[in-house]
């Protein structure tokens, strides 16, 4: 059982969707470590409502791919208890909105046990869940609550923006002895990209990735907005040189990579699907102000949800869920 994720690079890659990359990460970690098990609602025989865990039940059986009753407080808490006693659970909470049901075990047990016990236990639990609007799923199935978890002391939170990041970060999350929230975005499952095949491949939690280099403005993005920002950067090429960074890890946050970028461009747009006030955007902006105040050439811009819930009807949903056009507008405000 490894404690620290190590980075192994490999030349060989395969084309996977985000869904397949997550499934591959789960499969490889379960093959490598028999303490790893998966549980959640309909993750087993049904293969997950969003199909992510398809085939794992057939390969590993019901002991290691466990269908739970509809009891998020109970089974997230059981994940905490199991992690504290030497298992390595990967718990799926079907939609991130349902994390509300398991709030107590997350806030007061998972996040605090190691600290309160004077460091005497490990907490190797991973929570996988899906976020985001765009499906007409309405307010209780479309939220992006990751700020809460990134904010809460004692929890780590990652938000991959590519299939490779999804695989590498999930493997690191599972190997980590700290509680890690792995936030998927439900509009990204079909997005495909090149992913290393080496079973040793992981990505360190706490490192951002420069996905495209540029000179004029930095777009710091998460999840779906990484891809959409790359498209905007491509469209603007020749006119404006846009650097795009996938934050990958909300907490810990890679301040250095972001600071290096803004030192070069002097301008920044933070694009994240969480609500704007008191969020991920604010944290990133603050770190830039604290570290690179004298590099800033323009007001920093935030792209996110305008402090509403996600409504059902598509004209309303389209209005509040941020996309590439909003990133483009924000860029035009500062260059």
């Amino acid at each position: 059982m490894s404690t620290q994720p190590e980075t192994a690079s490999s030349d060989r890659t395969e084309t996977l969707t985000v869904r397949e990359a997550i499934r591959a990460a789960l499969r490889e970690e379960m093959e490598q470590d028999e303490d790893v098990f998966v549980m959640g609602e309909d993750v087993g025989k049904f293969g997950g409502v969003l199909d992510v865990t398809d085939g794992l039940f057939e390969q590993f059986g019901g002991e290691r791919v466990r269908d739970t009753p509809i009891s998020e407080a109970g089974f997230v808490g059981a994940g905490v208890g199991a992690a504290a006693t030497g298992s390595r659970p990967v718990v799926e909470v079907m939609f991130s909105d349902f994390l509300g049901v398991s709030g107590e075990q997350i806030m007061n047990q998972m996040a605090k046990m190691r600290y309160m016990f004077g460091g005497k236990i490990e907490m190797p639990v991973t929570i996988r869940t899906t976020e985001g609007g765009g499906m007409g799923a309405a307010s209780q199935h479309s939220g992006t609550p990751h700020t809460w978890f990134a904010h809460f002391p004692g929890l780590k939170a990652v938000t991959p923006g590519t299939p490779a990041a999804a695989k590498g970060l999930l493997k690191s999350a599972i190997r980590s002895n700290d509680p890690v929230f792995f936030f998927e975005n439900k509009m990204m499952y079909e997005q495909s990209g090149e992913v290393p095949t080496d079973p040793g491949y992981t990505l360190p939690i706490g490192e951002a990735s420069v996905e495209r280099e540029g000179e004029d403005v930095t777009v710091v993005a998460t999840q779906r907005l990484v891809g959409e920002s790359l498209d905007v950067a491509e469209d603007l090429a020749g006119e404006t040189s846009v650097e795009v960074i996938d934050v990958r890890s909300l907490y810990p946050l890679d301040t250095d990579t972001l600071a290096d970028s803004i030192r070069k461009t002097g301008r920044m747009v933070v694009a994240d699907e969480s609500p704007i006030s008191y969020g991920v955007h604010a944290e990133i902006v603050t770190r830039m102000v604290e570290n690179e105040f004298f590099s800033l050439d323009a007001p920093l811009q935030r792209v996110g949800v305008p402090d509403t819930h996600i409504p059902f009807s598509s004209p309303l949903e389209d209005e509040v869920v941020p996309d590439g056009d909003d990133v483009r507008d924000a860029i035009s405000q500062v260059v």
């Binding site: 609602e41 309909d42 025989k45 049904f46 409502v49 269908d67 009753p69 509809i70 009891s71 998020e72 407080a73 109970g74 909105d97 349902f98 509300g100 049901v101 499906m135 007409g136 799923a137 309405a138 307010s139 209780q140 199935h141 747009v269 704007i276 006030s277 811009q301 935030r302 792209v303 996110g304 949800v305 305008p306 402090d307 509403t308 819930h309 409504p311 059902f312 009807s313 598509s314 004209p315 309303l316 949903e317 389209d318 209005e319 509040v320 941020p322 996309d323 056009d325 909003d326 990133v327 507008d329 924000a330 405000q333």
Partner: protein, 346 residues
Amino acid sequence: MSSISIEDTDGRREILRRMLTIREFDSTAGDLFADGEIPGFVHLYIGEEAVAVGACAALDEEDYITSTHRGHGHCIAKGLDPNRMMAELFGRRDGYCNGKGGSMHIADVEANMLGANGIVGAGPPLATGAALTSQFKGEDRIALAFLGDGAVAQGQVHEAINLAATWDLPAVFLVENNHFGEGTPADEQHNIENLSETAESYNIPGFTVDGMDVTAVNEAVAEARERARNGEGPTLIEADTYRYRGHFEGDPEPYRDEEDVKHWQERDPIDTFAERLIDRGDLTEAELEEMRSEIAAEIEAAVEYARDADLPDPSEAYDDMFGEPVPEIEEFASRLRADGAGGDSR
């Protein structure tokens, strides 16, 4: 007083009509979803009509209900207007939630229908709260929570029932045991056979009734309502029923056989009740056919109503967050007005 009396002919015909309306509404909603006209998640109530209608017929219009993700049947049983329901499924401004809610969130507080719910198990605490209002204000109304068999495994359901039991609140908890929570059979989620057995641990009455029989459900809820109104506290009723369609529209249903569905369809709640009414002379075959075609026309009209209704304006996304507006959201909305497009960048 109950809203519809099963004791008289008109009442029985109305009960049949509501069950038929639910079936027609939901069959149509299923088709419209398949055609891509209705977006999002849609969970149909087909097969379970006797539970919602039997229960709501025993309630007074002043009584509250809370519903589930599978809420269309509860809405129609409580007397909601199919036009405005359909408009909500279509995301129109004229829908019950002005297009903000969709299938999983239809609510009509004027009809004391406190909302379908996207969170499994979230209704019972709300019903306990509505019952608390009734007790607190010395009113005569009760609150009934519909919940699924799967929801019985939720901690907040247990807490809600315990609270209602401890305070003798005028509540009824009605478990619709359709034998599955999504793809997982009920017996893999619970260690007891009849979910009504849990009533014992709260020291409240608990019954399992035939949920395919509208009369049985109606009787059980009517009695539970009397107890609640007499200050004797809540009752837990389990209605044994079945959903004919997948968990959600588009569900591949790998977890069950077509045969199981057929088996339950032999005891179809609408067919059996219609037969009974015909046998006792409440209704002729011809009148039944007439009723069916009236309902088909009514639902077709609801679809037309929904199609013709306006979509909300994007600016309406900023409405309804608070009773007293906040400058933050005003500012986002004004930026929309300024650039005329989706402008939530800052």
